[in-house]
Amino acid sequence: MRQTCLNMVHELAKRDERVVFAGSDLSPGLLADMKREMPDRWYMEGITEQNLIGMTAGLAKEGYIPYANTIATFITRRCYEQVAVDLCLHDLPVRLIGNGGGLVYAPLGPTHLAIEDIAIMRALPNMTVTCVCDAKEMVRLMNATLDWPHPIYIRLAKGGDPVVSREELGFAIGKAIPMRRARSKRSAVLMSTGVMTTNSLAAADLLVKDGIDTSVVHFHTIKPLDKETALDFARDAELVVTVEEGIRIGGFGSAITDVLVEHLGTAAPKVKRLGLPDEFPHNYGLQDDLFDIYGLMPNQIAASVGKAVQMKNKVA
């Protein structure tokens, strides 16, 4: 996904002279072809995230469309004020490409885990927050970024992620994609973002075997949130389970819950939010190890849905 994303920066730069790339201290040879072909639109500025964001703001002010890239937690946490003031307050079309969103850098420990990036980015006025599920969808997102008039946070997954997105379902920033529709509207709905959509689809397959028909709705855009699709699926659902690779406080599940509570009030279905609790992860291992610890593997998601459905039926 990361390579696809960067290749797309090069493709977009060929297509449009406004596109520039600005990285911090990334891999040697990164976008070497672009650097060779258009050296004045390729920047590598060292470990200076605050400056990188301000610099891209200045470029955008003068008509360029900068794609800024570094590790997700550093492009969000480290330079949050620059993102807020230089990009969002000025509403400039800078794209922040965050490598290794969520738990990708599990072996590197909590300094490198972007667990609250979705929460803090969506809190900023004018910011668009995206989290696609695979490389194919990344291509569709990147094509859509060119003329989007606001700053965008592009959260990257690990890379080599299974392709589950489908071109025929279309793509537009701010429009959620129903990936699987239950036969009955009165069923469980999994609402997910990023690679959690992959795990949610796998969970839905497991749930069918248990007789629980489950819809899966993929939100590649967390902000602006597709309220209509969220409400359409939630209105008659027995249960909504949100799934995200990040902290639950202020994250994707919070965004969904806000919409359901505000628009459906007491008629809102039961909602369960899966994601990280209010803590920094204590373990290392692989991304899947942390998924396992936080109940984000397909069988665990299925179990959470199954348990919640059973409890609801008991209460009923």
């Binding site: 004045d40 610099m55 891209t56 470029l59 360029y64 000025h90």
Partner: protein
């Protein structure tokens, strides 16, 4: 490596007395403070001659066409000194003088820190410190890529350059040989909490900028002729950005406020205070 800029150090032993134009602009500052009943007094007064020379003698701009593509860009990174900018923009006709009377009021375009898109002539929204130089680096790179001859001037406060982001940006400007970029430092030696030498000593300041590959010069920031002379020599060193360290006096022109951190910002500026401020300018 020391640069030839050292040869153009222009520091006069004594600042000439303020002339009528400098006093007039300061009176507009007081008028603005009266309108808002508050404002950064000392931080604005130290900037007056810098702003005056920039807008009277240096910058290329069109007041009725503030987004004119070939204008020079002036970014006030020390956004809290905005009253000095507002009075210059009003004086030049970017907006009517009586807009100054609305300073900080509910529906005014003139806030306590300047906002781009709201105030004609304001290039960037500043106030959070340590942002302007990075933005200016991006603008200077863009201008160069577009092969335009616009110059980029960024005005920084001395307290502001405590921020690490300023030095990230300085490194970047030096690396890119941004000779179309000039950083002006309003070195009034007093920050909000007290003297800079006590709070966070900046010395040796000129050496710092030189070490970051800026052509660097020091000048009396209230000496109009000296400022003109420096600005007309830009860039001081070929293929390098310029740093102009302006030695200024916090609260310049208001005797009882000069060099006093208590006058960094004042609220509750009532008629009596306004009268005292006007009175000081007549001394």
């Amino acid at each position: 490596m020391a640069t030839s800029a050292e040869a153009v150090q222009i520091i006069k032993p004594a600042t000439p007395p303020l002339d009528e134009r400098s006093k007039y602009l300061r009176k507009l500052v007081v008028r603005t403070l009266e309108g808002g009943e508050r404002g950064h007094v000392g931080s604005s007064m130290s900037l007056i001659e810098i702003m005056r020379v920039l807008y009277d003698d240096v910058l290329r701009y069109r007041p009725k066409e503030p987004q004119w593509r070939d204008r020079d860009r002036m970014i006030l990174s020390k956004g809290h000194g905005c009253i000095a900018l507002y009075v210059m923009l009003a004086d030049k006709g970017f907006f009517p003088l009586d807009t100054l009377d609305t300073f900080c009021r509910r529906d005014s375009i003139l806030g306590g820190h300047p906002e781009a898109g709201k105030v004609p002539g304001v290039e960037a929204s500043t106030g959070a410190l340590g942002h302007g130089l990075s933005i200016s680096v991006g603008v200077a790179l863009a201008v160069r890529m577009q092969k335009r001859d616009s110059r980029v001037i960024v005005v920084l406060g001395d307290g502001e350059i405590d921020e690490g982001s300023v030095w990230e940006a300085a490194m970047c400007a030096g690396k890119h040989h941004l000779s179309n970029l000039t950083a002006v430092i309003d070195y009034n030696k007093v920050q909000s909490a007290g003297p800079t030498r006590e709070i966070q000593d900046l010395e040796p300041l000129a050496d710092k900028w030189r070490a970051f590959n800026f052509g660097t010069v020091e000048v009396d920031g209230h000496d109009v002729e000296a400022l003109r002379a420096v600005f007309h020599r830009l860039p001081l060193v070929q293929d390098r950005p310029t740093a102009i360290i302006c030695h200024t006096v916090k609260g310049k022109g208001i005797r009882f406020a000069e060099n006093d951190a208590n006058w960094h910002h004042k609220s509750k500026i009532n008629k009596d205070v306004v009268a005292k401020l006007y009175g000081a300018l007549e001394e």
